[in-house]
Symmetry: C2
DNA sequence: GCATTACGGGACATTGTGTATCGTTACATC
DNA sequence: GATGTAACGATACACAATGTCCCGTAATGC
């Protein structure tokens, strides 16, 4: 449920009787959701506001997504469906710094805090939705970082028994703490510092 | 604003004309807030519910705290006013593991996720309140960890130029990511693993 | 043409927040 | 003991937002 491209049900033939849904509305709703999210944050987003900005009626939205957090998750997944960059410079440290610079930039955007915090709060109350968010948004991003780490292991720059999940949380957690919990801006050196922590903590045993 | 012990204004004489506030109500309201928070999470807490459980009217609550997040912050500060343990075993690694075990226990409580996530979301929308929460709740806890790190530096177990703020986020951030963002339980070894990251990342230069 | 479904508009019930207004009660001062 | 002031419980209120329902209309396949 709450997929990016809604519907198609379980039938192999996607065609249903009756008037078909207007695909342009899907696009307009998701685009409006993202625009409002960036402008007003998670709390400032209302279904009414999305409907107005997308030029559709409210039932048209509820016909597609069952709730506000589900709509937000769909919009984020939709926006990020392409943008999972694959970084491979040949050096683990350079790769990690590039990954972290990207992450710092994301987290430093002024709206990020309000969007992330609000969404995480609603996810905590809806396990199904949380599962969708994790599997369709977070996990693909984490997998890209794992690729970087995997290559580091292959080149002998990291110990072979690195705990990948832990390493990822070690990279992102400190940024999250500072940007979202403390509410303080990330400085430029945060990327280097977190990258170097990984190198020090998981250095290959000599 | 939004202090734990409300009021006393700026006058040196706390006594104001008129009927004084009933101090037992303060206690009852904060206790009810904590109880509901633990039982129903941040989203499940309503001012009505607190009023009913505390046996007071709603205006009695609004007379003391201006909003729901302000009340929650006051309750958390109130509950934690004593409990900032000072750990000193003589070994940095043992100290850090003890600190982290305590943190893991806190974060693993089933209500923690819903309370923390909901509160952080509201704090992002209210900078004044966020300042209160940070200065009266988070900062004292961080200071206790800094004490542990400071002693580690003094004993030569850590490099002298450790970035204390970064080190704290490095200790707590990964736990926060896993418990709150991913929504997965923390395992027992999380304390050791994060502690060892600090030792590896900030080892004194030889 | 007919069944079926989407559409916009709007009404609706529900829930929660925060404010305001009662009559009443507790305390200090005169 | 009378008076002023402010807290108290109860309750009504305005407001905002969620999610549902129903209407008349439009689009599609059979």
């Amino acid at each position: 449920m709450t997929t990016d491209e809604p519907v198609a049900e379980s039938t192999s033939v996607p065609r249903r009787p009756g008037r078909p849904r207007d695909a342009r509305h899907d696009e307009a709703i998701l685009a409006a959701t993202l625009a409002i999210l960036r402008r007003d944050g998670y709390r400032g987003l209302t279904i009414d506001g999305v409907a107005a900005e997308a030029g559709v009626g409210r039932p048209t939205i509820y016909r597609r997504w069952p709730s506000k957090p589900a709509l937000v998750v769909a919009a984020l997944v939709h926006a990020a469906r392409l943008a999972v960059p694959d970084i491979d410079t040949g050096s683990l440290r350079r790769d990690l710094i590039a990954v972290q610079r990207h992450q710092v930039e994301l987290m430093n955007s002024p709206d990020n805090r309000r969007v992330t915090a609000g969404l995480v709060a609603d996810l905590a109350a809806d396990p199904d939705l949380a599962e969708t968010y994790v599997s369709r948004y977070l996990a693909p991003r984490r997998a890209a970082v794992w690729q970087v780490l995997r290559r580091g292991v292959d080149r002998g720059e990291l110990a072979a028994d690195v705990d990948f999940a832990f390493a990822y949380d070690l990279l992102v957690g400190p940024l999250f703490m500072r940007a979202v919990v403390w509410g303080e801006p990330l400085t430029a050196d945060a990327a280097e510092k977190t990258a170097d922590v990984i190198l020090a903590a998981f250095a290959p045993r000599s």
